[in-house]
């Protein structure tokens, strides 16, 4: 069923903050014309082109895959390009920067802490130390399903904005970084589990997570970071138990059939 025709003019309130002038952020209202397929991103671009060229926000692909345009929309973390004004009719719609992030300017937040956390979990394939088969690894569709969902993360930061712990424990790796680690740990081609586990299994690594599950609710790509974190906690616990009864892990075992 196609969207029915609708439209009008909506009041859109945008949080503005200019660091060299403003002491604190403030909400500014704009009147934005809309039709049934006007996205929130379209509304911001309308404001920038027609009303105030200094309004600042990140965006690019317009199709919910580049992960640039995460904002709080009426208090909920969403991608601006795939949300539509029709959903918020008759308004007003309030657009604010992602929660739990330092605001650089207007809707632009600081991504550096996340980039550091992502790099910290070694989110790349650690190949089999005994060699990779040529021309490449085999991997069955069934083996792919073990990590496929976790590989779909677009790093949009909505889960960090949704997570109550991210704001409290600043060194918490957070949903997306832990998910990236688990994505590789669950990949039959990867042998980096032993290196990644100590990175996760720290007080501020994955343990601050209290399983509220807000990350999975916020995720626009169905990644389910909460499930990834749960699996990582289980693996860390098992590793602790193994270490207790069998120091130094015993022999590293091949996983999930290795190259089979």
């Amino acid at each position: 069923m196609a969207h029915s025709e609708a439209g009008g003019v909506m009041t859109v309130e945008v949080q503005r903050y200019r660091p060299d002038v403003d002491d604190t952020p403030r909400l500014v209202s704009y009147e934005v014309p809309w039709t049934q397929d006007t996205s929130v991103l379209d509304a911001l671009n309308y404001i920038k082109d027609e009303l105030d060229s200094s309004i600042t926000f990140r965006w690019s692909c317009r199709m919910a895959i580049c992960g640039s345009c995460g904002f709080m929309l009426n208090g909920e973390p969403k991608l601006g390009c795939e949300q539509f004004l029709r959903t918020y009719a008759p308004g007003p719609l309030r657009i604010e920067p992602l929660a739990n992030h330092a605001v650089e300017r207007d809707l632009v937040v600081d991504l550096e802490p996340f980039m550091t956390k992502l790099a910290a979990v070694e989110p790349y394939l650690h190949p089999d130390p005994t060699g990779t088969p040529e021309p490449g690894n085999l991997q069955t569709p069934e083996q792919m399903t073990r990590y496929g969902q976790f590989a779909a993360c677009i790093n949009c930061m909505l889960c960090y904005a949704a997570c109550p712990q991210v704001g409290l424990a600043t060194d918490f790796l957070g949903p997306a970084a832990i998910t990236a680690a688990v994505r590789y740990n669950k990949d039959s081609r990867d042998f980096g589990n032993a290196q990644r586990l100590p990175l996760l299994d720290q007080e501020d690594g994955l343990w601050p997570c209290t399983f509220v599950g807000a990350c999975s609710t916020a995720c626009p790509k169905g990644v389910d970071p909460a499930a990834a974190i749960q699996q990582a906690k289980f693996a860390a616990t098992m590793d602790w138990a193994t270490e207790f009864v069998m120091p130094h892990h015993g022999a590293p075992g091949a996983k999930d059939g290795g190259h089979a």
Partner: protein, 605 residues
Amino acid sequence: MQTVRVDVAIVGGGGAGLRAAIAVAERYPDLSIALISKVYPMRSHTVAAEGGSAGVVGEGDSLEKHFNDTVAGGDWLSDQDVVQYFVEHATEEMYQLEKWGIPWSRRPDGHVNVRRFGGMSQPRTWFAADKTGFYMLHSMFQTSLKYPQIVRYDEFFALEVVTDDEGGTERARGVLAYTMRDGYPVLFEAGAVVITTGGAGRIYGSNTNGAICTADGMGMAYRAGVPLRDMEFVQYHPTALPGSGVLLTEGARGEGGILVNKDGYRYLQDYGLGPETPLGHPENKFMELGPRDRVSQAYWHELQKGRTLETAHGPAVGLDLRHLGAAYIHERLPLIVELAEQYLGLDPVKDVIPVRPAVHYTMGGIRVGLDASSSLPGLYAAGECSSSGLHGANRLGSNSLAELCVLGKVAGEQAGAFAVLDPVRPSIGVRSRAADVADRYVAMMGAGTEDPAAIRREMNAAMDAGLGIYRTGDGMREAVSRIAALQERYADVRVSDTCPVYNTDWTQAIELGHMLDVAHAMAASALAREESRGAHQRLDGFDKRDDERFLAHTLATRDAQGHPVVSYEPVVITTSQPATRAYGAAGQAPGKAATAETPTIPKEA
């Protein structure tokens, strides 16, 4: 102004830039690498590529077939030495990505799967569902984190390639950039510079591209005196959403989707792509698996005949996937399902999706050789911003992702070799000139009277109208003069925002300047090519390919006044002499194809 000295400076953090950076790091581990990007690498527009990446694999296919498909697909404007190198190295790069963790879609036995793609005679498109570019970009970006010598400068906006002529020969000396976050100019003094900034689709109003595809790298090279090559060849992708231009992958047709007009008729059979293939049984190089230029041209003809659908955003045709069934659609085309639902409120399992052509890809770009070097020593380019000679007059779908791997690696290795031979040295002259340039850009803030959004809209309209799927001399002349007039207005472009932090008013104005320069080069190159070839189709008496006069690459070089000067250079032909380009049944019978060479041009057009 801060100065950073590195061996290799790479501008652009998408697929080509990341591949180049990793190539430098692996081949020359001692070299320092700056990866400079105006967005965090995972935001780069490689992320939006959907369908897949070509590489010969499996029985029935051969390098020769991939070569021939690419050369014919490019209407014999490809440099065949480049095509040969490319097909020989594409598959190893696909396996390289496999070893870097990309989740290629697999067969039940664990081997990689390949799908059919337009203009390709064999299934050879490696794919990761319908988000291939996304997985490729993230795999490469995350792999790049392994190399400490790759130092990223995220959200640094490159302004100019810095050159000097110490020793008598002008060469690239680095890149002047600006930190978007802090608002501070930074000079990267570099032994070699690689430009990997992607395409220029935002020059057009109706396009599939992200906001960042603004021709910056092309513009920087062009202003540094490097020719832009084959700029008239702009690809319209046949299946974008009306209005937004959001892309629906060619993979949708590779998996069996069909295109229908308002009567439900598969119109492609009327345009040299038939006969009709059975529903659910797509055949390579037939019907919906014709090349993009031909499929987009067929849309134009349907529009002239009044056989298109009407939508709220203008005319469209229908992309029908319904016969594929819910399970198959959800497995192979999950993004299509999401996009159709979000943007149109339609379900491809039950509904026909309205689509129309939109600008998608620039075949042309910064002229480089097989070693990725430009005419300016020390300056290299790869990916969509470059004209490697691979794509000719029309790119085949899935050759561009493979290109950014194959030639991104070449660019990295060659730039690394150059930097080793002629290492970076500090230069007082370079620094003082760069500081002057930086001052000039910063002075744009808080100055000017011409509305940049208005200039951008008028540029979009001029290009949509004058340089579309079909072109006329009058239309292109009009576009040239409109763009030139906009360039004059742009000289006084208004940047109201004076804040140094994330001043996107300013960065968008700079992007607009690049787009205008490159649009001018496109329009002038198109006007001068008095023939029809690939994506450049004319209605004004030049409706046939003319190998006598135009089996040649167009070069657009910027003169002292900032205007493009057009010249030509030969195409490299090795084994494939220009022949009739035919698809459908005509393509099956070499030598008997003349009748289906091009669609008939209606007289009233």
